[in-house]
Subunit: 230 residues, 2 copies
Amino acid sequence: MKLAQNINLAVDGIIFGYEDQSLFVLLIKQKYGSQKGKWALPGGFVLDNEKLIDAVKREVREETGVKVQYLEQLYTFGDNIDRDPRFRVVSVAYFGTVNPKHMILNPTTDALEAKWYAIDTIPKLAFDHSDIIKVALERLRSKLNYQPIGFNLLDSKFPFSDLEQLYMTILDQKIDRRNFRKKVLSLGFVEETDEFRKSGSGRPGKLFRFNSKKYKELEKKGINLDIKFA
Amino acid sequence: MKLAQNINLAVDGIIFGYEDQSLFVLLIKQKYGSQKGKWALPGGFVLDNEKLIDAVKREVREETGVKVQYLEQLYTFGDNIDRDPRFRVVSVAYFGTVNPKHMILNPTTDALEAKWYAIDTIPKLAFDHSDIIKVALERLRSKLNYQPIGFNLLDSKFPFSDLEQLYMTILDQKIDRRNFRKKVLSLGFVEETDEFRKSGSGRPGKLFRFNSKKYKELEKKGINLDIKFA
């Protein structure tokens, strides 16, 4: 049943990826509608019997081909009444992080094209999607300090410098590496392996991996990395 | 314009109050509907041309008489499709804190009665409102560590022990008072005044007040009180 209420409910997904020291967002080129041809976040209307979380996963999958395991609710955008020029749409935005490596983009349904855009090369987007990305990026940055992040963004084994670089890229600032390493290792969500990897001309570096159990524990409980900048 | 989508959009408000070392939530007794007579959070449907934030402020004011200055979006509840037995309702929940002193409750429209319930005396609520309060309480607790809280909950001038007690009440745990005092005063969002207040049989204690400028600065930037428990 529907009340006499003229509000449409949508979901949008902000999918962050990380590769080669750059942070990316997954965007699609719109196939239909008043904003046809413009780039936008993947998203769309919620079906009547569909959970919000299922709706956003479906829309991301349909429009980009990417299956995201974990998405977190970011914010519901409904204060700008005219955010969609067609009619009123309130959108529940979700964000998540994935490792784009080996991902084949496969746009269908409402998307002409799907593409990873480096955060500093994003074109002018449809609707208020540029603002939504800003909010998501702020949330991601503030989460860095009080939740371990990176599990989905790095390879399963990585040199410690990759984690440092990931944090510096997201924060867009140099960090005190010594302090960071000490803090991360003392919390126990990253642990040494016995393997080494040679990178560049230096001597081979030890590889690290996430301790998933500890990671999930800390993710729930919250931490404070208290990151110092360099 | 409305798509062929049978989803109704509502807002709910979780208003926390604090008095006499207890944390309260503002509830209303439902006048109409399938859950008539049950206690619930103040809230209702969003009007077509109304911002979400205006909708929740209006509903709280209409159903309880309480005017809330600042509310923060908590979460949008839309994964439990049958959360309302009548039809599908997705609700955007907002929470805020007020000092209930001198507040006159004045229920109108959809509310028969409005009342502050101490957090440990809340009856079984309509819909999924008990779950919503749980989420709000978790958020309030986790915010204590990384945002200064209390500005709206305490008198404008207060003995330092009132702030300690507020934190212990919300956290439902004893804290290391010495560590807490040192940390709070070093951050500068609470400052000493020249006034004293006599309370109980002890010697009069110094009164403190919030430094609003510093408070707002820290609220935006985030802090880490790193509260130690006793």
